[in-house]
Structure formats: C-alpha cells, structure tokens
Symmetry: D2
Subunit: 207 residues, 4 copies
Amino acid sequence: MRALFLNCTLKRSPEVSHTHALIETSQALFKKEGIDSTVIRIADHHIPCGMQPRINDSDEWPPIFEQVMNSDILIIGTPIWLGEKSSVASLVIERLYASSGEKNPDGQYIYYNKVGGVLATGNEDGGKEACRSLIYALQHIGFTIPPQADAYWVGEAGPGPSYIEEGTKNTFTQRNTQFMTYNLIHFARMLNKQRIPAIGNVTLGKF
Amino acid sequence: MRALFLNCTLKRSPEVSHTHALIETSQALFKKEGIDSTVIRIADHHIPCGMQPRINDSDEWPPIFEQVMNSDILIIGTPIWLGEKSSVASLVIERLYASSGEKNPDGQYIYYNKVGGVLATGNEDGGKEACRSLIYALQHIGFTIPPQADAYWVGEAGPGPSYIEEGTKNTFTQRNTQFMTYNLIHFARMLNKQRIPAIGNVTLGKF
Amino acid sequence: MRALFLNCTLKRSPEVSHTHALIETSQALFKKEGIDSTVIRIADHHIPCGMQPRINDSDEWPPIFEQVMNSDILIIGTPIWLGEKSSVASLVIERLYASSGEKNPDGQYIYYNKVGGVLATGNEDGGKEACRSLIYALQHIGFTIPPQADAYWVGEAGPGPSYIEEGTKNTFTQRNTQFMTYNLIHFARMLNKQRIPAIGNVTLGKF
Amino acid sequence: MRALFLNCTLKRSPEVSHTHALIETSQALFKKEGIDSTVIRIADHHIPCGMQPRINDSDEWPPIFEQVMNSDILIIGTPIWLGEKSSVASLVIERLYASSGEKNPDGQYIYYNKVGGVLATGNEDGGKEACRSLIYALQHIGFTIPPQADAYWVGEAGPGPSYIEEGTKNTFTQRNTQFMTYNLIHFARMLNKQRIPAIGNVTLGKF
C-alpha cells in the first residue's frame, strides 16, 4: 500500500514549507503502520496549466500523475492565502480533473478505489475553506473520503507566527492529522480487500 | 438498512418542491435495491436554531435526530438560493454539528459508520457550491463520503424553468443521482459488514 | 444618516453574543462620527423562511426590512459555525434577496445607493469564508461594497476562548473593524451627495 | 480613465477563449463611453507563483502589476473548472495580494480608489462561486466593489456548449455585463472626482 502527498506550497525547495511540517506528522504515522509514503513538492516542477494530460514537451505532470495512479491514498497539502487553497493546489485539481473521464477496466472512473484527504496550514483563518474545496473536488472525481479526512493549522486572526514558528504542537491539529491518517489507512485497506462493486456507477452509452 | 433524506426546501407542504422531485429519483433506486427510505421536509417542522440538542419544549429536532441515528445513509437535499445551500440546510448542519461531540461505544464520534450524500436543485448556478458545503460538513463530523456522492440540477444562467418544469430528464443529473445512490449503498453495505476500526480515530484524554 | 446592524447570532437575548461585542466596537465609531446606529438581533424575532416579502401573519421580517430600507448602511454580523456564516445569516440573505427585484423610482434595484459590510466572530477559523459569502450576496443584490468592508475575529485552530473571553483586544480585528466602519461612512456620504447615475443599470423591457 | 481586463483562461493564444468573448461585450461598452480598455491574457505570460513582487529574472508579472496600478478599473475574467475560478485566477489574486501591504502617499493601501469587477464563463455551474471568491479578494485588498459588479454565463448542468458555441446571446448575462460595466464606470468617475478620505483607514504604528 502506498500514500502520496502533493505539497502545494508556493515555495520552491529548499525554502521551508510549513505545510511540509504538517505532512511529516502524517508521514510518521504511515511509517508506524508500515505504509510507504512519498511527498512531491509541486512548485519544484514545471507544471503548466491546461486541460490536456500533457500540455507540452517540458510538462512534468505526467510522471506525477503516474504516481497518483500507483498510490492507494492521495493527500493534498496546501498553504492558505487570502483564506483559500493555493493556486498550486488549484492547478493540481485541474490536472487531476483533466484525466477524470478515463475509466478503469470495470468501467468506473479511474480514481475509484483510491482514498483522499487534505492538510492545510496558514498563519490565520481559512483552514476549513481550503479543505472544503479540495475534499469536494476529490470526491467529485471519484476518490472516497473517509470520516474526518481533513486537518489544518491556523493561528489567531491577524499577522502572527506560522505553523513551525508556533512549534507544531497544537493538540487539535495533531489529533485531526492522526484521525485523517488512520481513517485513510482503514479505508484504503477496506478497498484493497473489496473493490467498490461496479454496479450503478458505470458510465454507459448516452452519458 | 435504512436511508434518510432531509429535504431542506424553503417551501412547506403541500407546496411543490423541485428538490423533492430529484429525491424521488434516488428513492426509486433505493427501493429497487430493497432499501427503505424516508423523506423529512424540514420546513414542515418547528426547528429552532441553537447549539443544544434540544432548544425548547416545542423543538421538533430531537425525533429527527433520532431518525438520523437510526439510518445508515443520510442524504441532504437542498434548493439553491443566491448560489448557495438554503438556510434550512445550514440549520440542519448546525443541529447535526451540535451533537457531533458525542461518542459511540467504541469511542468514535457518533456519525462514524454512516455514509452521506447531497442532492441540490436550483433554476440556475450553484449546484457544486451547495454540495461542496454539505459534503465537507458531513465528512468533517464523521460521515463517510463515497465517490461522486453529490448530484444536482441547475439550468442556464438567468431566470428560467425549475427542475420539474424542465421535465426532470437531464441525463447528467439522472446519471449522477444514480452514481450517488449506488455508491451510498455500496459503502453502507461495506460498513455494515465491517465497522471502521476504532484505531487512531478515538478521542482520548487531552483532546 | 443611519446604520443598521443585523446580528445573526444563534443565541436569543439575554444570552451573551460575541458577535455583538464586535458590533459594539463599530457602533462606538459611528457614534463618534455622529451617525445613529441600531442593532437588531434576528434570533429574538420570528422570521420564517421563504421567498415572499411576508410569509405569514406572525412573520416579523417586514418591519426589519423597513429598517433596512430606512438605513444608508447595512452591516451583517454573524457567528461562525463549521467554518461558515450562521443559518440565521443565510435566512437574512434569503429574505433580502426575495425583495431584490423591486425597483427605486429611477428604475434601479432597491438596494442601490446603500452600502454594506460584514462582521464575523468565531472561536476558530472561518472568518473570511463567512465574510466572502455575505459580501458577495450584498453586492450581488445592489449594495456598494467599500474597500476592506469585512472584519472578523477567530482564534487559533481548535477549541478555545471566544471573542469576549479573549478580551476583544486583537489589534488586527480592531483595525479592520475601524477600516470597515470608516469606509462605510465615506461611501454612504459620497452616495448621499451623489446617487449612482441611473445609466446602464436600469432594467428595461426584455430583461 | 483606463480599464484593465486580466483574462485568466487556461488557454494560451491563439486558442479561442470563451471568457474573452464575454470580456468583449464589456469592452464594447467601455469604448462607447470613451474609456480605453486593455486585455491581458495571463496564460500567455510566464507568471511564477510566490509572495514576492518579483519572483525571478523571467517573471513577467511586474509589468502587468504596473498596468494594474495605472488603471482605474480592474476586471478579472475567469473560466470555471470544477465549479471554481481557474488556477490562473488564483495566481493573479496571490500576486496582487503580495503587494497589498504597500501604501499610497495618503497612507492608504495601494488599491484604494480603484474599482473592481468580475466576469466568469463555464459550460455549466460555478459562476457565482468564481465571482464570490474574486469579488471578496478584491474588496479585501482595497478595491471598491460597485453594485452588481459580477456577471457570468453558465449552461445547464452537465456537458454542453460553451459560451461562444451557445451564441453569446443570453440576455441575463448581457444585462449583468452591462450593469457591471456601467457601475464600474460610475464609481471610477466618482472616485476620480473625490478620492476616499484618508480618515480611519490609514495604518499607523502598531498595526
């Protein structure tokens, strides 16, 4: 079983990403449960916008998409700007969406039998809105969303410390990250044992 | 297995609810699969706002909440006004949220092992936003969200016919309602056979 | 010149409303500038849902709507629940929307030449989302939105103190409330001196 | 007086942009009123993500930002994907936001005395959500939002024709585009005659 994190920070490596710090909390739990996980920082790659699977010769999305397809669990990590997910997270959703019409051998859309979750960090306000947008998009294109599959950290209203500066110790955020991670694992295991029946959810003829 | 629809139309019976017409499409599929379903029109009941399980002597929420607890599947149906879910749908989410801190015997939150979906109708625009808000809220308080658990009908931008006037025949809406209904059934059956393990998602001590 | 606050807390008087505490900060500035302001707590009134100007005999919305029409400035105050505005705020928007097709003598929609702002409080996260929804709705039905016409207080992620418990002293919230209040005043004065020309914004024939 | 449109389509020139078709409706009205307008298609430029005014040597944002600063009216045009504004529109908001802490000689934030509006097109659903996000962001960073400053076209739920294919003839969309354009003009003229007083909206010391 494999988990993939797409970190949608606006910062390129080696700049410090607060979202990455929250991702590490989740990664430690995957490791404890014997599940391999990988983090891709999208801003380190050349990902053009557009609605084709491959936009041009320098497009680095196709190998990332392949990793999505090879994973059982996908977690989008996003910073919060002006109370919303980042433009990089929007871009990732668009690129995932562009392939969402493809089918698996059973005739279901290709993200069926994968589970999705969201992590968000910001120095203030917007955690639920960032997660709301991403959770909705993931389920809309075929991911399963376990209970409480979102976790975030934000500080008090106004300028202030970011997640790492605050010490990454907020117990609510820690707890929700744990709940998210374990529920992703539980559902990925369930769907590994029993795929979603291809009944009533298969596109035919006129649709 | 039981399914419950909460119709959050602003119209009281016997006024015609377009959202109800979409609910009936889903109900027919539940019936075909041998699953009992019930529709409650919230506007026919006295449901005060507030964050207690029971607000006052005339509060009619407690028996509705009991029906939620007795159901395996919950579908919120909402009309769309100014591009968003109705105030009645907001009220239902608040009342569900007010009890979301309660636990089951395993120590998980009480909506665990239930699955949730959303139906929305409007004469134009706002289907995804209404569903986004409700899908997020349901998963955030413990419901499982199967793939493609939202369906809606909206017409072209501007004033125009509502769902029934349009003939309830949009194939995209019909298809998505079918996908939603079957995926809710598949996951409710899965969770009936195997509950979500109470590992990593149980609130202890300091949380 | 008159300002009206609609407090959309879920709490009935005399329960303490944190949103009211933030409203008082704005009221003090209106007073300092010689502008009368009034606060109506919507939850103290019987306001049924629906899309008619008057729903039934016990509907207490019509006199509130009259106060809206007699004001130059409208501020919606809302608490935050599950990261969104309250159901009471949704209800207020629906009731305002229901009359938004009416025209003034110049043929413009009736909320033209009024200015709008939003205040929100929650113990954590959701300030921008609550304001986003309300700011959008107000401008969509004809209110003018001055720069920085929203202000909110939220605490760090997770359970924690509410606005009054925190001491109502956050300088960012205080500043934004001041900016909102003064910009509402500046634009109300501008529009009192010069109404919006009835050119290009008047509904004719086919529309 | 000058108006600037930032077209946030995902398509590079010379691909046909449906959003551009809606922009042209607004441009024709500006022209009729003797106001110069320019359209920049963001996807034709290299605009990296990040929170600095200039990200790297090949960053093409600075001259676009200069055009924003030289305009009285800014209109963001966006396509709709999965019911939301495009990633390019998110990117534009982030880049605008990154400079929003700068001040004018009066001590107000630099976007004060500019007016903002939004146009959106999609083949189905999401017009209000795309506009909601952008209208909110613009006012939050200092733009004035006139009444009814958003307009969109979307078709019926499901796959279907886009704006140009549909004939760009929807009267509701045409009307709202006209209202938006004229109200932007009215407020830009008002603010050209009388700037927003620098009273109560100027950042001092501790803020």
